[in-house]
Symmetry: C2
Subunit: 130 residues, 2 copies
């Protein structure tokens, strides 16, 4: 029987793209990557653990901000190379997933040839990251 | 003023990861890539045009299957390197986004150390791709 971690088609950098969706609202909150260890730790802890490409280390989401993601469900796509997480975004109500202090990272809407920030900052990032 | 296409941070292959979410249900249907021309054509046509990495060509989603994606909204993330599309999945009710004939590509749920296909095939792929 194939190990569930081996069933994943890791990319050339050993990473897996991950979409985090808020379970209750259906809002897509963020996009990040996991490596094998991050995925294993996510399953073990029930909280989202990513691989930070910029810092080149495991990143337990919320470790600094307190904005932990509780994982309810994980779904792999047809090609086994993208993961969808159904999560609850903890630490603030409404949930803050974005480092800019917004609910979702996808706050820039295309409008007539420009990207316009349309969602409010819920908490000043200076107060999120002390 | 920066061109909206130049504001996108294209990856080392000139691509942008794209998440397609069904506008009405909030379901995440698929994940794909766009290059610059695909994004421009998506805006011009109002229908999702991707870059097929396997076929190395533009891929107007639904060109063979009829499962066109009408685009209602496009959102860029905080790092300008991931795009979220709010779409209506046309051609079948309920919408079929996956080449396996399922509603969503994310049909394999993690259950106790295994990935289990939990969503039904809505239409036999042999009848989708004649």
């Amino acid at each position: 029987m194939m190990n569930w971690l081996d069933a994943v088609k890791w990319d050339r950098d050993g990473l897996l793209p991950v979409i985090a969706q808020e379970a209750l609202s259906g809002d897509v909150l963020m996009f990040a990557f996991m490596n094998r260890e991050a995925l294993q730790r996510t399953v073990e802890s029930g909280e989202a653990v990513y691989w930070s490409r910029s810092r080149q280390r495991l990143w337990h989401k919320g470790e600094e901000s307190g904005h932990i993601q509780k994982v309810h469900e994980m779904r792999l796509d047809c090609d086994q190379d993208v993961l969808l997480l159904k999560i609850t975004q903890l630490g603030h109500a409404p949930g803050i997933a974005c480092h800019t202090g917004r609910h979702s990272c996808f706050f820039q809407r295309y409008e007539n040839g420009a990207w316009v920030a349309v969602d409010p900052v819920l908490k000043d990032p200076e107060h999120i990251y002390k």
